[in-house]
């Protein structure tokens, strides 16, 4: 089982750039999981053990104290593939809510291809116990899928009552629109410089221009490279800088708006945040995309649904 580390950079440094060069040549590295998310506050990096060894030691890096394990819901494993809602919404009730009920803190990372739920390694027995009632659990060992056995651990707590989950943290919704996209790994070298430019060098300039027009504009960029698959989340305007036909887009050209969660850094211990957001969305059958970072959480929802989402979430928070 692979373990992942989470760390963030306080500021843009030379080292980050070197890192990124390394990761863009990922095929020569053993790193199979790499994710970099830029927010106005910091850069969040998620890497696996092999990748963590490649990271330089720097006082600018703070590393989350625990190692994390990624869970991935594979619909292929189940016998029926009925028409289900998609993304985080799909697993909100079956995975996220039970984990929240058992006080397990999760870290979400949605990609173009799938959704990863990161949990602390030490919580793993508990997670397996929680999920075994609803899922067939598999452990991936050296690429081969084997059935994982329930470790027979109970947390000793009585199953918590299903209380309504009010939204605790303040929400904000930036004005800019985002694209969730991907690109052919073969074309990665040709856009590598552009990607680095977008990630590290152009943000400041743009912000200076954009923030004057719209203070509500947020700088946000996410890049992940997981088992050879690339996933990108970027501002709609940024997509214009890429050549035609490089980015994978949906036929409908859907755009997403962001709901940002948290006024103060959220930390890693509080549980139920994802559940608070995703459950109302699931109820409303709205697809969602969720990226946690070192300090805050970000949910993306289709542009046309933003008003109803905000409405729904406000109701939830008002309900407390």
């Amino acid at each position: 089982m692979e373990k992942w580390f989470m760390c963030h950079y306080d500021e843009l440094t030379k080292t980050v750039e070197q890192d990124c060069c390394l990761t863009l040549h990922f095929k020569t590295l053993k790193c199979k999981f790499f994710s970099l998310t830029e927010t106005p506050e910091d850069y969040t990096i998620i890497v696996d053990e092999e990748g963590f060894k490649e990271l330089p030691q720097s006082e600018h890096i703070s590393v989350a104290d625990a190692t994390w394990v990624a869970l991935n819901v594979v619909s292929g494993g189940s016998n029926t593939s009925t028409s289900q809602p998609i993304g985080v919404t799909k697993i909100a009730k079956s995975v996220i809510a039970p984990l929240a009920d058992h006080n397990i803190s999760v870290f979400m990372l949605s990609t173009y291809q799938t959704d990863f739920i990161l949990v602390r390694e030490r919580d793993l027995p508990m997670v397996m116990h929680t999920l075994s009632s609803e899922f067939t659990l598999f452990r991936v060992v050296n690429g081969e899928t084997v059935a994982a056995h329930n470790l027979g651990v109970t947390n000793g707590f009585v199953k918590p009552k299903l209380v309504p989950r009010p939204i605790i943290h303040p929400l904000s919704s930036p004005s800019n629109m985002f694209c969730v996209t991907s690109l052919d790994p073969d074309t990665l070298p040709s856009v590598a410089t552009l990607l680095m430019d977008v990630m590290f060098y152009s943000g400041g300039q743009k912000e200076s221009g954009a923030s004057s027009e719209d203070s509500n504009h947020i700088r946000f960029f996410s890049f992940s490279l997981i088992e050879g698959y690339i996933s990108l989340v970027m501002d709609e305007q940024t997509t214009q800088r890429f050549p035609n036909n490089v980015l994978f887009t949906s036929a409908s050209g859907e755009l997403w708006k962001m709901v940002r969660i948290g006024g103060q850094p959220l930390g890693f211990d509080e549980c139920g945040i994802v559940a608070q957001i995703s459950e109302p969305l699931a109820t409303a059958d709205i697809p969602a995309y969720y990226i946690s970072t070192f300090k805050f959480d970000h949910a993306l929802v289709p542009e046309e649904n933003i008003q109803s989402v905000i409405g729904a979430l406000r109701t939830e928070s008002a309900a407390q």
């Binding site: 292929g76 494993g77 291809q113 959704d115 690429g143 997509t239 994978f248 697809p287």
Partner: protein, 884 residues
């Protein structure tokens, strides 16, 4: 496939066209080299064939996979899967006919863009095109498009939402609504339609293989595995599927889909292509990265693996079609075992035919067949006479004839076996005489208590151990100087005597009994057989020159006698022991011109110095027994063992059966027999000979057991079942340990005890089971009840008599055809009384009744039983090829 890695597709319907795709599509036609249309653009593919480039299509960038429309019309329609997941229909080298025009340029666009990994046309419902795509969090990865779908309504709906991509889309040719969407939130790496049902699609998904059924898309069969790349169905065996992961190929049986039925040996480099040969069953070709060989796996002999434990045998071969590294290959759709290979770089193509393995089979008689590809050849010699003589010389033919003439079965006059073998083979004659003398000597020792020979130890084992061992123990040798018989002249020839030497002479057959050196009996028998020269030589060696001359005269006068013998006799009569006489001088030189070896050694004996008889001892055309007998008479204790050892070694190396005289039936004898069998293949003689070795040690030798088993198998293969039974009986008599223990018993229905067993425990009740097969004598007691519990034995289903009752002759069924021939009937009569059961339904009765019942019926005679007993007996319909 993008960029450097090319692939090849054969046209499904034009056997001379194929497409190479790398960054663009190139259509080639293959034809004989130097044909009329050979132009500058022709590329040689092999010594006979060349390719011409017909058309190039570079309309579709970012190609990831290509599939050729499977039907005749429209021809040359290709589906191209692109890096962004779109599937485009395109064509090559076509004049714009209407059927194609409608379709070419049509695009199928998935909701969310990601790489298209694989394409597969439905072979039956050819409107359906399945595309396998990478994973997307909110989309399906297997999309089945209907290429004939009407374009408009969806596009108008979609158009309002198209923002990013609308620029480059000509909405009139774009289809965005697939017919089926399968595999949500999963990646699809390979696809193929199953040939057993065109509604079934096999997909290599992320970490599992799944079979989707289009009739019920919510159901799927799947198995978790790593081997998910390159799924492909065996075109000759629709339940067999190959897939691979990195360097390992897994073969699946769809009827038993839980795990691969076998995995092929892992290659160090990752595989890039795996393909079943369409023109030959069970041949799988695999290619790994950066390799210049194609590995072939022949699963010819294992179409249906039965059970879990059967690990089928696979013949693995490698072929090297060209020097350079191979980019891809494709089997020709109809030309046998042919493929075109394209190099990894430069698009160098090679036309290559995999040479078929040749399999060869001898029949149990003499014919030879071999198979190559689809041809079966029978080996026939050119001239008919040649064949006859060749076949006659063949050891298999000889053994077969000998088996029929009961070779080896004469246990009384053992030497007669060589006559049964045809009487032509000198070695066999010598062998069987050796064995005859050995057996008669040991027999005499056992029966008659005339212990003239006071040998230490077991006489029998000494006799069996051969002259080599006998002369080793020689002691108390006396020497004598004797006169020529009928003359006063003293010879200067020393003759040696001892008990061992005497025994050796007896084993050589020169003397029959006693210490007496009288060879008169032997001479007479030789005269009878018209072996004049040999008889004369033996007489001479016994210093009876007069008798020798007499024999030669007799020989000259006999019918068809050689008059030259008189001349020899005259020469002999002039013998003088003067050392420097003219006679001696002339004889010693002229003797070499004599053709008969015995005449030659006679003069050699007379002209050589005493004690130096090399002219006699090393005359290889003289029978070993005569040379050994001579040696026993005239070599001293030092010379004799040395000579015998040397001769033994020579015999062993040559595999000469005459040497059995020296080695006896010992380990040495087995060594000798081994080289004989190596030379001739005559396991028959080896088996019979070694069975005579009663000490038993030789029988335990694995080589001997191997010969015996092979001979039994040979008899089986010839269907000489009676001969085999005879051989087994013969073997059982000589080697009691070979008798198999009874493994099947008839047990009583009531008490469960074996009725034959309980019978044998009660001694007075007779001889085991034979009592139940009543021999027909009315006075014999018949046991019709279990000896254990006295309950009645089962009844015959036809005559309703209990087991143990003989067959009455007035049975109606089959009576009419029982007047065939009387001897045969007599033999069968015994068997008719036996009881037999069907192992399936457990009904049965007298063997005779059952046989005649099943002559006219197929079902069991018991009413309401529908068991087809006779058909279950697979050997029941075979007929032995030897007469009983």
């Amino acid at each position: 496939m993008s960029g450097s890695k090319p692939d090849i597709l054969w046209s499904p319907h034009h056997p001379d066209r194929y497409v190479i795709c790398d960054s663009e599509l190139g259509l080639y036609r293959i034809g004989p080299v130097g044909s009329a249309e050979a132009k500058a653009g022709t590329l040689p593919l092999s010594e006979e064939t060349a390719a011409t480039l017909l058309a190039i299509n570079s309309d579709t960038p970012y190609m990831k996979c290509v599939a050729w429309y499977p039907k005749h019309e429209p021809e040359c329609l290709l589906a191209v899967g692109q890096a962004n997941g779109r599937v485009v229909l395109t064509s090559l080298g076509q004049s714009h006919n209407s059927a194609c025009k409608e379709l070419v340029g049509k695009e199928f666009v998935p909701k969310h863009a990601r790489q298209c990994n694989t394409l597969a046309w439905n072979p039956v419902d050819s409107n359906l095109l399945a595309a396998g795509l990478d994973k997307h969090r909110a989309d399906f990865s297997v999309l089945i498009w209907d290429i004939s779908s009407k374009l408009s309504p969806e596009t108008s709906v979609a158009a309002e939402k198209i923002r990013l991509s609308s620029v480059d889309l000509d909405s009139s040719t774009v289809v965005t609504k697939p017919l089926y969407e399968l595999g949500q939130n999963d990646a699809c790496l390979s696809l193929c339609w199953l040939l057993r049902d065109p509604k079934l699609l096999l997909a290599g998904m992320h970490r599992n293989l799944a079979i989707f059924d289009l009739r019920n898309t919510s159901q799927k069969t799947f198995v978790n595995t790593k081997a998910i790349q390159g799924v492909t169905v065996d075109p000759h065996f629709h339940d067999r599927v190959a897939s691979f992961f990195e360097g390992q190929v897994a073969i699946w049986d769809l009827r038993k889909f839980e795990k691969p039925v076998l995995t092929l040996t892992e290659q160090p480099k990752p595989l890039t292509k795996v393909a079943w040969c369409p023109t030959r069953t069970g041949l799988l070709a695999t290619l790994t990265r950066d390799s210049n060989i194609i590995r072939l796996y022949d699963m010819q002999h294992t179409p249906t693996p039965i059970g879990d434990e059967t690990e089928p045998t696979i013949i693995e071969r490698s072929v090297q079609p060209c020097e350079s590294q191979i980019g891809s290959f494709a089997w020709h759709p109809s030309s046998q075992n042919r493929m075109v290979v394209v190099s990894a770089t430069n698009r160098v193509m090679t036309d290559f035919t995999v040479f078929e393995r040749i399999s060869l089979a001898w029949s149990s008689t003499t014919s030879l067949m071999w198979a190559c590809g689809r041809h079966l050849y029978e080996c026939v010699e050119d001239s008919a006479e040649g064949v006859e003589s060749m076949i006659e010389k063949d050891i298999a033919t000889k053994m077969r004839e000998r088996a029929q003439s009961r070779y080896g079965h004469d246990t009384v006059q053992v030497w007669r076996n060589h006559l049964l073998a045809g009487g032509k083979d000198a070695q066999l004659k010598s062998l069987w005489h050796d064995l005859f003398y050995i057996l008669s000597v040991s027999h005499m020792k056992q029966c008659a208590e005339d212990m003239e020979l006071k040998l230490q130890g077991n006489v029998q084992s000494v006799v069996y151990s051969g002259i080599k061992n006998i002369v080793k123990t020689t002691s108390g040798t006396t020497e004598s100087r004797r006169c020529w018989i009928g003359s006063d002249r003293q010879t200067d020839v020393l003759r040696y005597h001892s008990e061992e030497r005497c025994l050796a002479l007896r084993l050589c057959g020169w003397i029959s009994r006693g210490t007496d050196t009288d060879v008169e009996n032997f001479l007479r028998s030789l005269e009878q057989e018209h072996e004049w020269e040999r008889a004369a030589a033996v007489a001479l060696f016994n210093l009876d020159i007069r008798r020798a001359i007499q024999i030669l005269n007799k020989g000259a006068m006999a019918e068809k006698g050689d008059l030259n013998l008189n001349v020899v006799a005259m020469a002999l009569s002039g013998y003088t022991d003067e050392k420097s006489s003219l006679w001696r001088e002339m004889c010693s030189s002229l003797r070499l011109q004599l053709k008969n070896p015995y005449l030659c050694i006679m003069f050699a004996f007379l002209t050589s110095e005493p004690g130096a008889y090399d002219g006699v001892l090393y005359e290889s055309s003289v029978a070993v027994r005569d040379r050994v007998a001579f040696a026993c008479m005239f070599l001293n204790d030092a010379q004799l063992p040395r000579y015998i050892d040397r001769l033994t070694l020579e015999m062993k190396e040559a595999g000469n059966l005459e040497g059995i005289l020296l080695t006896g039936l010992t380990k040495d004898g087995v060594d000798l027999m081994e080289s004989y069998v190596d030379r001739t293949g005559d396991v028959q003689t080896a088996s019979f000979c070694m069975l005579k070795g009663s000490p038993g040690e030789v029988l335990k030798d694995p080589r001997v057991q191997c010969w015996i088993e092979n001979y039994r198998n040979l008899l089986d293969a010839w269907r000489f079942w009676h001969k085999r039974a005879e051989f087994d009986i013969h073997r059982g008599k000589l080697d009691p340990s070979s008798k198999p223990l009874a493994q099947v018993f008839v047990s009583c229905n009531f008490c469960g005890k074996s009725i034959s067993y309980s019978c044998s425990t009660i001694p007075h009740q007779g001889r085991g089971f034979s009592q139940y097969g009543v021999s027909g004598s009315p006075t014999k007691s018949k046991v019709t009840s279990c000896p254990g519990c006295r309950k009645p034995l089962p009844r015959c289903a036809l005559c309703l008599m209990n087991m143990g009752t003989p067959v009455s002759n007035c049975q109606g069924t089959g009576k009419s055809d029982e007047k065939v021939d009387l001897t045969r009937e007599n033999k069968l009569a015994q068997f008719n009384n036996w009881f037999t059961w069907c192992h399936n339904c457990r009904h049965g009765g007298h063997a005779g009744h059952m046989l005649s019942w099943f002559r006219d019926h197929t079902e069991c005679p018991v009413s309401a039983c529908t068991c087809k007993c006779m058909q279950l007996d697979t050997t029941g319909n075979l007929v032995p090829s030897d007469s009983s």
